[in-house]
């Protein structure tokens, strides 16, 4: 089995489309050969972090000038020389990362780091890359069509794309997405192929799953059970909503490596259990019952000891507008505890909507912050002196304590807002 290039791919590799596309194609050929695939697919929807400039990359490539072309050529395309990076070929967007310019001091970032990040963003925008700066592109207008070949980064977005939208993407990286933006090509591997998308493991849900908390815990359970395989869920799962899928998928992609799931009757490639499994049979069967639910809750709270909470973080993945509205409703005009900070992370699009509806002003009046572009884990940013956090995201509780060396509690959004108001963790599983 060897890689076969089509005429347009050969022409790009030969340099007929300019030096940047030549370097991009050369990287994709190395990648396709590493994967052992025979061909590329044409991709029409690419989501990555093209040319992002960090203080480290700026310093490392200083001898080359450290501008957008430098970082994109030498890091993103892994080339050995700097080339002029042209406008991208197709629909491309920039995901989360970097620094919210309106809150860089809250995040503890320097003006210098912000200036570098802004230069990277302007470089991307000048090349026709949409600046979404969110881990939830599907909440702000980037909604792939059924069967559309995509090349996306961000595990929680990848699992949403495959499972909920029936778009087709593997978990791509920074280098492959940047190269795909210039070429419109990605290796024909994994989730691009029909035969790869069928379920492999069965999860029987035998306890009610209705709320964000419950969908997150079921996702965490699912990832623990199946690792990176493809689960099919049946049973007592409540009515689906975008925000519920968002929390389920993010959790399953964190505790395991789930890139696609089926929920029978709820997701598009699983009208029936037979359709979800295709020609295969379940390799293993797992049951999610009340005892499993309690065990997952205890797992997610394993890093909590002190009940004095000094930081509440919401918006992992980035909050949808209705989640910010919910936070406002729960705050009910009250002020936060003097000992507790509240940061809600979201996209720029949703923050603009939250401002238009007055929610953002109410969060700020209570003493909280609405922050875009990043999150505490990605940005490695928590309030100074934080020892104990409260989180409503199974994904964030999976990562943040390890990355920032803090304790953390997991519970409902209401538990978290209560902790922000009182400074005390009083959450319990009901």
């Amino acid at each position: 089995m060897s890689l076969k290039l089509r005429d347009d791919e050969k022409a790009m590799l030969a340099g007929d489309y300019g030096p940047a596309r030549q370097k991009a194609m050369a990287l994709l050929v190395r990648y396709a050969e590493a994967l052992g695939v025979e061909r590329f697919v044409d991709t029409t929807n690419v989501a990555g972090v093209p040319g992002s400039i960090t203080p480290f990359l700026h310093q490392y490539y200083g001898a080359y000038g450290s501008d957008y072309n430098t970082i994109f050529s030498l890091f993103d395309l892994d080339a050995d020389e700097v080339v002029e990076v042209p406008r991208v070929s197709g629909h491309s967007c920039m995901l989360q990362g970097g620094i919210d310019p309106e809150n860089f001091e809250v995040l503890g970032k320097t003006a210098e780091a912000l200036a570098l990040d802004q230069a990277g963003e302007q470089g991307a925008a000048a090349r026709d890359i949409e600046v979404l700066r969110t881990c939830t592109p599907y909440l702000v207008g980037n909604v792939p069509g059924r069967g559309e070949h995509c090349a996306w980064m961000e595990s929680s977005a990848v699992v949403y794309c495959n499972s909920v939208l029936a778009g087709r993407t593997n978990t791509e990286g920074r280098e492959s997405t940047s190269a795909a933006m210039l070429t419109g090509k990605i290796p024909d591997f994994g989730f691009h192929r029909d035969e790869y998308r069928f379920g492999t493991h069965l999860i029987k849900v035998e306890t009610p799953v209705e709320t964000i908390l419950d969908w997150g815990m079921l996702g965490y359970f699912t990832g623990q059970c199946v690792g990176e395989k493809i689960p099919v869920l049946t049973g007592s799962i409540g009515k689906p909503q975008v925000i519920l899928h968002k929390h389920f998928g993010a959790a399953a992609a964190s505790s395991g490596g789930v890139e696609m799931y089926h929920m029978v009757g709820l997701t598009p490639e699983a009208a029936t259990e037979e359709m979800a499994f295709g020609p295969g049979r379940p390799k293993e069967v797992f049951v999610y019952d009340a005892a499993a639910r309690q065990r997952i809750y205890d797992d997610l709270n394993a890093n909590g000891r002190s009940r004095d909470v000094d930081f509440v973080m919401l918006g992992c993945p980035h909050a949808a507008l209705e989640q910010i509205e919910e936070a406002c409703r729960l705050l009910d005009g009250r002020r936060l505890s003097e000992n507790t900070q509240l940061w809600i992370f979201t996209s720029r699009v949703v923050r603009a909507q939250a401002q238009a509806k007055g929610y953002a002003q109410r969060i700020i009046a209570a003493g909280g912050h609405i922050i875009t572009d990043t999150c505490s884990a990605i940005g490695q940013a928590i309030p100074p002196g934080t020892k104990v956090a409260a989180l409503d995201s199974a994904k964030q509780v999976h990562y943040l304590p390890a990355i920032m060396n803090i304790e953390a509690w997991f519970g409902s959004t209401a538990d978290c807002i209560n902790a922000a108001l009182t400074g005390r963790w009083q959450g319990e599983l009901v």
């Binding site: 990287l27 190395r30 990648y31 590493a34 994967l35 052992g36 480290f56 490392y60 890091f75 892994d78 996306w152 980064m153 961000e154 595990s155 990848v158 593997n170 978990t171 791509e172 990286g173 920074r174 280098e175 492959s176 290796p187 591997f189 994994g190 690792g227 990176e228 964190s254 395991g256 490596g257 884990a377 990562y399 304590p401 390890a402 990355i403």
Partner: protein, 142 residues
């Protein structure tokens, strides 16, 4: 080095070309990139990982494969820039994360072996990875 009598030879598929030898670092657990390693030190940092605190710098890393965030390749790409990358990688489970990571680290890498490297190679064995010819030669530590 011990004589050739004690050597074990595996055959497999080239992922990234090259030929190099070094000391094996073996784990039965998959490795996370972003949030799982410290690229400045070249160490695994994941809580509860059996290699937590252990450096893979200049080792022949023998592992099942990659897991976790889509930042895997970029994190290991940073390891190359910091000079903390492994010398070579041998893995058993192909994913986009580990394939792209191997490519941008530019280190000899192989997979699809005739026998299981995770059981045949032990920590500290001397391993020659000849990805160009699809051969791994293991000299067990005495």
């Amino acid at each position: 080095m011990s004589d050739s009598v004690g050597k074990i030879v595996l055959t497999g598929r080239k992922v990234v070309a090259g030929c190099i030898e070094g000391e094996a670092l073996v784990t039965q657990e998959t490795i996370s990139g972003w949030g799982g390693v410290n690229p400045v030190q070249g160490t695994v940092i994941e809580t509860r990982h059996e290699l937590r605190g252990v450096s893979f710098k200049d080792k022949i890393l023998v592992f099942p494969g990659a897991k976790g965030s889509s930042g895997w390749s970029a994190m290991f790409h940073h390891c190359r820039l910091y000079g903390t990358a492994p010398k070579a990688m041998l893995f058993t489970e192909m994913t986009t994360k580990v394939a792209l990571g191997a490519v941008v680290m530019r280190i000899p890498t192989m997979t699809d072996f005739d026998r299981d490297p995770l059981t045949l190679i032990r920590n500290g064995d001397w391993v020659k990875v000849d990805a160009d010819n699809g051969v791994v030669e293991i000299t067990p530590r005495s």
